[in-house]
């Protein structure tokens, strides 16, 4: 029993480092939704810097540590945020994961390279290799105390524990009891909404990354005595710590902290009591990864259907509509040239190098299946490679023929893939990536430790196959065979992509729910993808091992898989050809660099890492970067708009919100000029309207209501004016010259059918989308180029279609974001007792109506100049909707100009001063409410009005332009 206590106690101490790393992970994840695989690498970089400055340059320990933790590390975090994380928050999850993996590779190499350069320059740096027992901030050697029999601590552990505890308390105070913390938590909940509330999410993200980076730095400095200068160990330590972050669901700092300590205790208990595992080699080593895997399965909330990254924006297809020859010609020629080259120009050395690159390409193509087609990040591909090759090697040693052995090996990998895929059916995105990583480590540490499978360190011989007259032990023959196999793989993937199954896969990737509704089995599709990819990786693995003529269990580790992923995705994972490029580049470039550029071994590593980092700018990879950029600049080529290929079948999306179906080829229906000049002549413009006889309350037939302010409109500027707005999502035009004005104290109701562009108009008005043409003014000031944050500060508020609340924040915290002062909040509570009763309840638990009230209530305290409400009554019961409309009317009376967007006209018409009707990206008609004729409205909704409106000006319009 005293043993148990002792283990628990010392585990609590040794768990502090896990806690510290996990806390940093949680913080950076909270800030930007990016799981930072490079957190350990940042820690390593700081450890290296600490060592060089302290031991090399002889700086004193504590000031150096403070400098690194408080200045250097935050500066690194700030720089990385500016350079990549900020952009990463806007690209797909795959690119996010891979970019941080790239960083994980690049940062240590960068540090070591810097040391190398400093050494060359004559600086007093110490070599970074073979350094053990490095000093930390405390005394070196550490003082140690024996607390009880068997339990001892040393000064380094104590320092770590105290520092971690201080940090945890500090963070808890920051997150729970400061304005900055509240905003950061709000940004986690809904980044877009935070910006709409005038808070710069970018700045919050910078702060969080600086904090997270400082925490990594602290962990690095504190861990130096334990981990030395092994970037590999730092990264492994980080993955172990990730278990604690999972326990905190990536969101809760206290839980992650507790999880870290618990992990330390658990490891001690396993070390002390897991005697049952003695016969299973590797079990104790694998415990943290078992926990990580179990934690992910149990604790990950099911956010998406069957693990698809929903925000993985579809890539542009810059070759859409190009001829067969344009799409495939260059690749075919390249393959033929390569095959010919083996027997004509390449030297034996280059034949070997190219054959190796091609063999690796075969493995790399498997990423195209699971990540490119399936949008799932698998970090277990190296496991499939090792598994297949070991099985094949085992069989070959029993005298099996090569092809039978390769086939069984491939099948073994496919089975392994199916096993790994099982969690994929539950998990998605980063959780899936971590789960596959955990499984990869488990395989490395338990499965591949089995003597009968791995055959010790000797491994298995896998001779090159010989069939008929063709002997692949010649590198040239091997190279040509590889060209054939790789071409076959690429071609079959192309065919698969175009087939029914391929379309099902893409459907599952883009819209799992919709795919399910159309009868596509998401479960089966995902299983199929993983199995196929694993089989392909396995086959590639057997061929690669056969190029090496041997496989040992340590040839391809989980970490190898990580680097591979970064290399493939950096090249581009959407097309199999790019994976081939990646394979060849991965093998050839280090050689070229060392031959012609630099002898330093760190530079190629750094470059491969940085290629992953570059995904922040070109999420589709460097192979396509030039073409995509050109395509973006010039627009789609070809004489007519081509329907997108299957791979781009999902509608282009803004990073933030799902777009509704857009009008079809608007240009074809109506000439643009005509549309704007005649039919969509707006009722309200900036031009003087001396003829208007303004009256309060929307009583005038000609002009907008004034909300009882009683001022003549001619004397007052509109609060918000949109002039000739053209806007597009990516290259799909949505708005074609919209004019709209909202005056203070006026309610403008914008009607229109689904897909008319209403929400797009709201985005333009709120600054979320920059128009391609036209002007937005606030009180006469041009704000076209201002982003949402600044617009919001200028008084333009958007209540988006989804409820404008932060679901995980409590009601009180939601209100505090708008109303920092207590009296204002109390006023809200007085007015809405229902909210007061539940002020400490997370907003997510409120009903839809209550949520809408919560989002509008604080506005009553400080009415904005303009409120743009996108479908405020959506999904509300009529009684609740009435309540919401009453609040809106109250806002108008307080002088706010309102733009209400509704699909259902009947309810809001009673509220409107002015009605504008949007159809196919144009204001088809607008005028005072009194002039709205129900039959016209009906026609309009049925899609009959727009063409007619062009030839028959509405009476209101005639009256307006005499």
């Amino acid at each position: 029993m005293s043993d148990l206590l002792g283990f628990a106690l010392s585990g609590l101490v040794s768990g502090a480092l896990y806690a510290l790393l996990a806390t940093g992970l949680v913080l950076s994840y909270s800030a930007s939704g990016v799981f930072n695989f490079a957190h350990g690498a940042t820690a390593y970089l700081c450890a290296l810097a600490f060592y060089e400055l302290h031991s090399g340059f002889g700086w004193p320990a504590v000031p150096t540590a403070l400098l690194l933790v408080c200045v250097a590390a935050p500066a690194l975090g700030w720089g990385l945020d500016r350079l990549m994380f900020r952009k990463l928050a806007r690209v797909g999850e795959t690119a996010q994961i891979v970019a941080t993996i790239g960083l994980l590779v690049a940062l240590p190499a960068l540090g070591l390279w810097a040391v190398e350069l400093l050494d060359d320059a004559g600086a007093p740096v110490e070599p970074a290799e073979n350094q053990f027992g490095l000093p930390g901030v405390g005394p070196s050697p550490a003082k140690s105390w024996q607390l009880t029999d068997g339990v001892g601590v040393d000064s380094d552990q104590l320092i770590t524990w105290v520092a971690t505890a201080v940090v945890a308390v500090g963070l808890w105070v920051l997150m729970r009891h400061t304005r900055l913390g509240l905003r950061m938590r709000a940004a986690v909940d809904n980044r877009e909404l935070v910006e709409l509330r005038g808070i710069s999410a970018d700045r919050l993200s910078s702060v969080a990354w600086m904090l997270s980076s400082a925490l990594a730095g602290l962990a690095g400095v504190l861990a130096t005595p334990l981990l030395g200068l092994s970037s590999h160990d730092f990264t492994l330590f980080l993955f172990v710590s990730a278990t604690a972050a999972v326990l905190g669901r990536f969101l809760s700092v206290p839980l992650a902290f507790a999880g870290g300590l618990g992990l330390g205790v658990l490891q001690n208990l396993v070390a002390g009591y897991a005697d049952f595992a003695e016969s299973l080699t590797g079990f104790r080593t694998a415990v943290p990864f078992l926990l990580l895997f179990a934690g992910l399965l149990v604790l990950t909330r099911r956010q998406r259907v069957a693990g698809t990254a929903a925000v993985d924006a579809a890539p542009v297809d810059y070759l859409a509509g190009r001829s067969w020859g344009r799409r495939w010609g260059p690749w075919t020629v390249a393959a033929l040239l390569l095959a010919t080259a083996f027997y004509t120009v390449t030297t034996p050395f280059w034949s070997g190098l190219l054959a190796q690159g091609l063999a690796l390409s075969l493995v790399f193509v498997s990423f195209t299946v699971v990540t490119g087609l399936g949008a799932m990040v698998s970090l277990a591909q190296a496991t499939f490679v090792t598994g297949a090759a070991l099985v094949a090697g085992l069989l070959l040693s029993h005298g099996w023929p090569f092809f039978a052995a390769a086939l069984v090996g491939t099948c073994a990998a496919a089975v392994l893939g199916a096993v790994v895929a099982l969690p994929a059916l539950r998990l998605g995105g980063r959780s899936l990536a971590l789960a596959t990583l955990a499984l990869a480590f488990l395989a490395d540490q338990v499965l591949f430790q089995m003597g009968w499978l791995r055959n010790g360190d000797t491994g298995w011989e896998i001779p090159r196959p010989v069939f008929g007259p063709v002997d692949l032990s010649d590198d040239r023959a091997m190279g040509v065979a590889m060209v054939v196999l790789v071409s076959a793989a690429v071609a079959s993937l192309g065919a698969l992509r175009g087939s029914a199954s391929g379309r099902a896969m893409l459907a599952v990737r883009s819209a799992p729910a919709a795919a399910m509704a159309s009868g596509v089995s998401v479960v089966r599709t995902k299983l199929l993808l993983f199995t196929l990819s694993a089989g392909l990786a396995g086959f590639g693995g057997v061929m690669y091992a056969s190029f090496n003529t041997r496989i040992t269990a340590t040839d391809f580790t989980a970490m190898t898989g990580l680097v591979w992923l970064a290399v493939v995705v950096a090249a581009g994972v959407r097309r199999a050809q790019f994976a081939v490029v990646a394979g060849v580049v991965f093998v050839v470039v280090p050689h070229l660099l060392s031959e012609y550029v630099t002898e330093s071994a760190h530079v190629p590593v750094m470059l491969f890492g940085l290629a992953g980092v570059a995904l922040a700018n070109d999420p589709d990879g460097y192979c396509a970067a030039v073409s995509v950029r050109r395509w973006r600049r010039l627009g789609p080529a070809g004489p007519s708009p081509i329907p997108p290929l299957p791979e781009t079948g999902a509608p282009p999306q803004t990073p933030y919100r799902p777009e509704r179906p857009r009008p079809q080829t608007p240009d074809g229906l109506k000439p643009r000029r005509c549309g704007r000049g005649v039919s969509a002549r707006p009722a309200f413009e900036d031009e003087p309207r001396s003829g208007d006889s303004g009256g309060p309350g929307g009583g005038s037939p000609l002009v907008s209501g004034r909300g009882g302010i009683g001022e003549s409109p001619a004397q007052r500027q509109p609060a918000l004016a949109l002039h000739d707005i053209h806007a597009a999502h990516h290259t799909t035009p949505v708005l074609h010259g919209v004019d709209l004005t909202i005056h203070p104290g006026e309610i403008v109701v914008l009607l229109g059918p689904n897909g008319a562009g209403k929400s797009t108009l709201c985005q333009v008005a709120a600054g979320q989308l920059t128009p391609t043409q036209g002007q937005v003014t606030i009180a006469g000031r041009d704000v076209t180029s201002q982003r949402a944050t600044d617009r919001s500060r200028a008084g333009i508020l958007l209540a988006p279609e989804t409820r404008a609340i932060f679901p995980t924040l409590t009601i009180d915290e939601n209100l505090t974001l708008h109303l920092p002062d207590t009296p204002s909040r109390e006023a809200v509570y007085t007015r809405f007792p229902a909210l007061a009763a539940r002020r400490t309840v997370p907003a997510a638990s409120l009903s839809g109506g209550e949520q809408q009230l919560l989002s509008l209530a604080p506005l009553l305290q400080h009415p904005p100049d303009v409120l743009i409400a996108d479908e405020p009554s959506l999904g509300l019961a009529p009684r609740v909707a009435d309540e919401v409309f009453r609040l809106l009317a109250e806002l108008r009376d307080a002088g706010t100009g309102l733009l209400l967007v509704e699909e259902k006209a009947a309810e809001v018409l009673g509220l409107a001063d002015t009605v504008a009707y949007l159809a196919q990206g144009r204001v088809a008609w607008s005028g005072p409410r009194e002039d709205v004729r129900v039959d016209r409205l009906t026609e309009a909704y049925l899609g009959l009005a727009a063409p007619g409106a062009g030839t028959q000006p509405h009476p209101a319009e005639e009256a307006h332009h005499p």
Partner: protein, 422 residues
Amino acid sequence: MSRSLRKLGAVAVAGLLLAATPACNSASNSGSSGDGKGGDSARGVSGDSVKVGGIVSMTTASGYSKKDTDLGAKARFERANAEGGVHGRKIDYLGAEDDGQDPARNLAAARKLVQRDKVFAIAPMSSVTFSGADFLQDQKVPTFGWGTIPAFCGPTYLYGFGGCMVPMPGGTITQSWPEGLKKVMGGAKGRSVAILANDNEPGTFAIRTYRQSFKAAGFKVTYAKSVVPATSVPSDWSAYTKDILRSDAGKAPDAVVSVMQTPYNIGLFTAVKRTGYKGVLTDPTDYDPGLLAKSATRKALDGVHVLLTFQPFEQQSADMRQFKQDIRKTAGKDVPRNMHMMTGYMSADLFLAVAEKAGRKLTTESFQRAAEGFSDTGTLVGDRALPKGRKEAFGCGALVRLKDAKYEVASPFTCYEPIPFR
């Protein structure tokens, strides 16, 4: 679209197959590529020089580097050249390729040295991985390195400078560790040892080997487990020390044997010493005078007995003086010596000795003939004999003890009779 793609794919494959078929035929007609194989004019050998390359892990993600291996080899080759070379041929040592402990780069380095640089032999090859082994054997490249990798056990062209140091089925186990400890502890009778290794397959294998080895020497093995997580150094060792220190019927064993790497040993020995343990601590990895530079490692390893498979630098002998002199001359200054210099030096030394025996007409055949039946005695790694060295280690070792920031010889370098490996 899908149909045209499929058609396209089919056409592409067909085209490639067409392109490939004659190519494959021509491959089979021309036979296997012949570079470096046999013939009178051996690859890399000219009238007055022999080209030799090296493969060494210099940069790694684990922070472990063997780069001084290169210096050791260079020092030995420079002396050979200063003495007139081998039968009139100077050694043209190209320096070592860095394989970064990466299997792919190890093979690439081997290929580059053979196919581009056209070396006659590779010495040294020192890494944790040796995926170039099969290629080098196939291309008949005599390769000399540290025989801790199974590839050095068996293949005819690969030579461990201290023999094959991995106990193989039908081979033997070197007894230098338990025999050395016997000298230190005054015999094995009634002495108990606890052996600890990492929780992975190599750890399990080490436990199996050393349990047999220590038992055969007469020790009582009270604890022999591979239980320490292999991926990250435990920050708390109490669970392990408790088990170990009670293993001898509730008492502490007389010796604690660690078969782990330096970071683990530092943690383990610190924790064991903290409990007041007064017995013998020993491991096979921590003979690195560089460790003495840090107060933390100095303290953690103080009193630890370290096993060596070569003569300790502290032992006075003509060969050792020569070694130190050669290293100093090549480095241009006094550098702290380490075992990697020794592996490089002795890899080069074995190559030179065999080449010397091969005579003036140097080809792979003549070299291999010379290697068969080669033997000499009293070198820095003991008595060398081939082809015995392909199956077992030369069986010599020493124990040094770290005391007051200095290594001192605890059990001098001696060759012991090995026992059969079961």
